[in-house]
């Protein structure tokens, strides 16, 4: 039986999603740097084109199978048995679409705020998005690693060149943290390559079983790379710096897609490759997740900087995602994947909102705001929706995701579930407190007379609002993508089935669907 479903569209869709932005970046290099509007429009057109060409993924995806779809497979480096091997399944398809959407939003939101080295900026954005799409599509470990690392080069520039005052510190911290994790994973990848008989083919690698002690070390080697990217406690400290200093588009890329690469890595590589080690490490992972949820949530309460607060809230939210993933049951994993999308949408949107206001006031201090709802009512209502989604209000996407991950976490460990739930309360605390301080209370004189959002800004945020409500009200559409893949993944770790699922949890699931 064929393990994969080859791409049957007229064009290699996944390659297009990866390389069309790269091609766009190459073409941009040819345009004279003084013609900035041509560069902007060029970048936008390539991003839009990529998005449009990625839509058939959504439409033609076969939701009844766990198999890899839209597969492209060609020999690449025959000397090392490396293939150019792309494909998507229920885990990755939504992330690929999220990537193509994000690149458009990043370009729109930077339209007026990037004033220096405009050409390099849009080239970097396109290259980053292309490389990240590559990460989500690669089915060959070598190819995956190439994209995983190549993404660093443009990202390094985005934070370092167009970032805030402390950007150099932030960018070098970002690079060093990620690089340490990545190279340890590289050692793991090479080790696995020889262990499995010289192959980087992921699907082939996941059919084999490895001795437990080998799995144990490899799990930690891969963990080092993914945990830094997620970021999990205690290697999360690069994220607040990177987020705070990055330009708006950089923060959006970080929040929406880059840190998803870590969680995706766990699902795609760590769990299916090292199921025994994963199972053994579940308590450790749940503990780290819970610490991240609570600790980062508490840290949020004392932040004075808008972006830093949202950055720490990211760490907390990513804790829910890893909690769900390592709960290793269908609610948890599906919730985790859905929450990856949710977090990308919501946090990406919040960073865009901060960027919008930062363009006007050039300050990120919470104390510099107050009563913003008076001069900018439209902005305030946009921000409200995203705040409530971040809090996890029923009806928004945040609720579904958090609920499922908590349900999963609770099923796996009652204590973890209970502790993690307190994170929701802390989350409501700091988000609403932030909203109150910025939008209500006494009107700060610095915000008097600020223009409200313009059309471009609304166009950039409107699709995210739509997603917040769509996922919040009708999540089944998105969850349907995942079921077979998640079931297959859980079969691999042998925890699937009803044994661990309590009756009440299943009943709640029925209600949800």
């Amino acid at each position: 039986m064929e393990q994969v479903i080859m791409n049957s569209l007229d064009y290699p869709i996944l390659s297009t999603i990866i390389f069309l932005p790269v091609l766009g970046a190459l073409l941009l290099t040819l345009i004279s740097r003084s013609r900035e509007s041509v560069i902007k429009w060029g970048a936008l057109i390539f991003a839009l084109l990529t998005f449009i060409l990625s839509l058939p993924l959504f439409i033609n995806f076969d939701k009844t199978t766990y198999k890899m779809q839209f597969v492209e497979r060609h020999d690449w480096i025959s000397a090392w048995n490396i293939k150019y091997y792309l494909g998507v399944d229920g885990i990755s398809i939504l992330l690929v679409l999220l990537t193509t959407v994000s690149s458009i939003l990043c370009i729109l939101i930077s339209w007026n705020s990037i004033k220096i080295k405009v050409k390099e900026f849009y080239i970097s954005i396109l290259l980053t998005c292309g490389a990240i799409a590559g990460v989500f599509c690669s089915l060959d470990l070598f190819l995956f690693y190439i994209f995983w690392e190549a993404m660093l080069i443009p990202m390094y520039l985005i934070i370092g060149v167009w970032g805030g005052p402390n950007r150099i510190y932030a960018t070098i911290k970002f690079i060093l943290y990620t690089l340490v994790g990545s190279v340890l994973m590289l050692v793991g990848i090479i080790f696995l390559y020889f262990l499995a008989g010289r192959t980087f083919d992921l699907l082939e690698l996941t059919t084999k079983t490895y001795p437990y002690n080998v799995q144990f070390w490899l799990f930690w080697a891969f963990f080092s790379a993914f945990a830094v990217k997620v970021p999990m406690f205690p290697v999360h400290t690069w994220l607040p710096d990177a987020h705070t200093e990055a330009p708006t588009a950089g923060s959006v890329i970080l929040a929406a897609i880059l840190i998803k690469m870590g969680a995706y890595g766990f699902l795609r590589f760590s769990i299916p490759l090292f199921p025994d080690a994963t199972k053994a490490m579940v308590p450790v992972m749940l503990t780290l997740s819970v610490i991240a949820i609570i600790y980062a949530g508490l840290v949020c309460l004392v932040q004075k900087d808008l972006k830093r607060l949202i950055a720490y809230s990211s760490v907390s939210h990513m804790g829910f995602i890893t909690l769900g993933i390592f709960a290793l049951n269908s609610q948890g994993v599906e919730g985790g994947i859905l929450q990856m999308i949710n977090h990308g949408v919501v946090t990406g949107a919040l960073f865009m909102c901060v960027g919008i206001i930062y363009d006007r006031t050039h300050t990120r201090k919470i104390a510099d705001y107050g009563g913003l709802a008076t001069p900018m009512p439209i902005y305030a209502s946009f921000f409200m929706v995203f705040t409530l989604a971040a809090v996890g209000l029923p009806g928004t996407n945040g609720f579904i995701g958090e609920f499922l991950t908590l349900l999963g976490g609770f099923t796996a460990s009652k204590l973890a579930g209970v502790l993690a739930s307190s994170g929701v309360i802390i989350g409501a605390g700091y988000m609403l407190w932030l909203y109150q301080k910025v939008f209500f209370m006494k009107i700060n004189e610095k915000v008097v007379g600020l223009p409200d959002m313009d059309l471009r800004e609304m166009v950039a945020l409107a699709p995210l609002i739509a997603l917040v409500l769509w996922i919040g009200i009708y999540p089944a559409l998105f969850l349907d993508f995942m079921h077979p893949t998640v079931q297959h993944l859980l079969e691999r770790v042998n925890v699937a089935g009803g044994v661990q699922e309590s009756q009440i949890a299943r009943a709640l699931m029925e209600v949800l669907r």
Partner: protein
């Protein structure tokens, strides 16, 4: 008495190279335009490279071997000499040392390397090594009016003479033990007479390691490198950070893998500390450098450490990875030096790291190229530097040296800091001094070739790996 002429087929490239160097020396007397000599040398090297085809064989009673292994290294040398000449032409005019001897010396040095890698006998090896070294000493001090250049040459010469003495000592010991200087015969003698464990043999091996360690600039025999690299003309720094290093690795591979193959375990324990120390010293000290040539000198020490892992692995895969690494290193390192040379103009030295501040604003294209070379030297995909490191690491892990690879990757993360500092200066700071780059067509060609090579090998390394594998087949 009948005295048959030995088969000259395998030495034809060397003969042509000798003739070329001598012709250039003579031509220098008549040709006033030195650029013509440079052009002649490039065309000449091209012709010599052509004679490599069909030159394989063994001659002079086994003293001279032309096989895939030597041919692969000779290709590195030809690339090295051509690229170095391309980046020299404008540069030596700026330094006011535009003499024709420069090109002859470069060719003679290359000839020395060619003889080294083809040596089947330790005496021939020594001959080649001396020819290479003496020519390079002169080249390092080629800017006569510059004290730093003089210092570079003197230091290189004194320490180089030491290294040669060590080599001779090692050769004499091994000759005393085995009664031969033929590399294959030594191996046979050692295994037949059961010399394994003989302290004199170990001492001789250590002396070889010291001498070759000097040539490849491996710590702790690297002391000459920073000063010499800094003081020497930049084009020569580029030349000798690739050529003599590759030649050193080639003879290290041949002597250790053939003559000393039966005491593998011993020399592996000698080379492992050398490798780790090189990576440590190179990468850590480079963090503190303010001169880009010195920084690249320390980086070259570190890269010697990575490539040494290929030898430590001690199998054909290891050797192949080492060869691939050196080929890749040639491109990315000469590329980086080409950018350094581009900043050198009349009255502006351009070798301080701060001279790179804001380069992305004033010279975006040049800055982008330097960015590629720096990321490649760090070993980040999709550049060739990643492929080089990956292959060495793969060979090492396959042979069970996972711990050594872990050490290497940690040091390569450290190296990211100083390579990316150059990128940071170029892209994230404002220009303080106005930098005018040296405009030269040949320099552009060299930059173009190295950039394309770095990117193409980074994405399609198969042909290079296959070439190296084929080269090692008859080893």
């Amino acid at each position: 008495m009948n005295f048959p002429l030995p088969n000259l087929g395998p030495v034809i490239p060397e003969l042509f190279m000798t003739a070329l160097a001598l012709i250039l020396l003579l031509a220098d007397l008549f040709i006033k335009k030195k650029e013509a000599i440079a052009a002649l040398s490039i065309v000449g090297v091209g012709a010599v490279a052509y004679t490599l085809i069909g030159s394989s064989g063994v001659t002079f009673g086994g003293m001279f071997i032309s096989d895939g292994y030597s041919t692969f290294f000779k290709i590195i040398f030809f690339l090295n000499v051509i690229l170095s000449v391309l980046i020299s032409i404008k540069y030596i005019a700026i330094e006011k040392v535009n003499f024709g001897e420069y090109y002859s010396l470069i060719l003679l040095s290359t000839l020395g390397m060619m003889i080294m890698v083809s040596a089947g006998d330790l005496i021939v090896l020594y001959l080649g090594l001396e020819l290479m070294a003496l020519s390079t000493y002169v080249l390092a001090g080629f800017i006569r009016h510059d004290t730093k250049s003089n210092e570079a040459a003197l230091k290189y010469f004194l320490l180089g003479a030491f290294a040669s003495a060590f080599l001779l000592y090692g050769i004499s010991l091994i000759y005393g033990l085995t009664g031969t200087t033929d590399i294959k015969a030594i191996a046979l003698y050692i295994s037949e007479k059961g010399l394994i464990g003989n302290p004199a043999l170990s001492l001789s091996m250590i002396l070889f390691a010291v001498s070759f360690g000097f040539k490849i600039a491996a710590a702790p025999f690297h002391m000459w490198a920073p000063d010499t690299y800094e003081g020497a003309p930049t084009s020569i720094t580029a030349f000798m950070s690739v050529g003599p290093k590759a030649a050193g690795f080639a003879v290290l591979g041949r002597v250790f893998m053939i003559a000393f193959v039966s005491i593998k375990l011993e020399w592996v324990t000698v080379l492992i500390p050398l490798s780790i120390l090189s990576m440590a010293v190179g990468n850590v000290v480079a963090l503190a450098q303010t001169n880009i040539k010195r920084m690249l000198a320390y980086s070259s020490i570190a890269h010697a450490g990575y490539a040494l892992i290929g030898i430590i692995v001690a199998n054909s895969e290891g050797l192949t990875s080492m060869m691939t690494y050196l080929m890749i290193y040639a491109f990315m390192n000469i590329g980086a030096f080409a950018v350094v040379i581009m900043l050198r103009t009349e009255g502006f030295k351009g070798d301080s790291i701060t001279d790179y501040e804001g380069l992305a604003k004033t010279h975006p294209f040049l800055a982008a190229l330097m960015l590629i070379f720096m990321f490649s030297l760090t070993g980040i995909p999709p550049t060739a530097g990643f492929i080089g490191k990956l292959y060495v690491f793969m060979a090492a892990i396959n042979a069970g040296y996972t711990w050594l690879v872990l050490v290497a990757v940690v040091f390569s993360v450290i190296s990211a800091y100083f390579y990316l500092r150059i990128v940071m200066y170029m892209y994230m700071r404002e220009p303080k001094v106005e930098v005018i780059t040296s405009q030269s067509g040949t320099l552009r060609i060299a930059l173009g070739v190295t950039t394309v090579a770095v990117l193409v090998i980074g994405v399609f390394p198969s042909f290079l790996v296959k070439l190296a594998k084929a080269a090692i087949a008859g080893f």
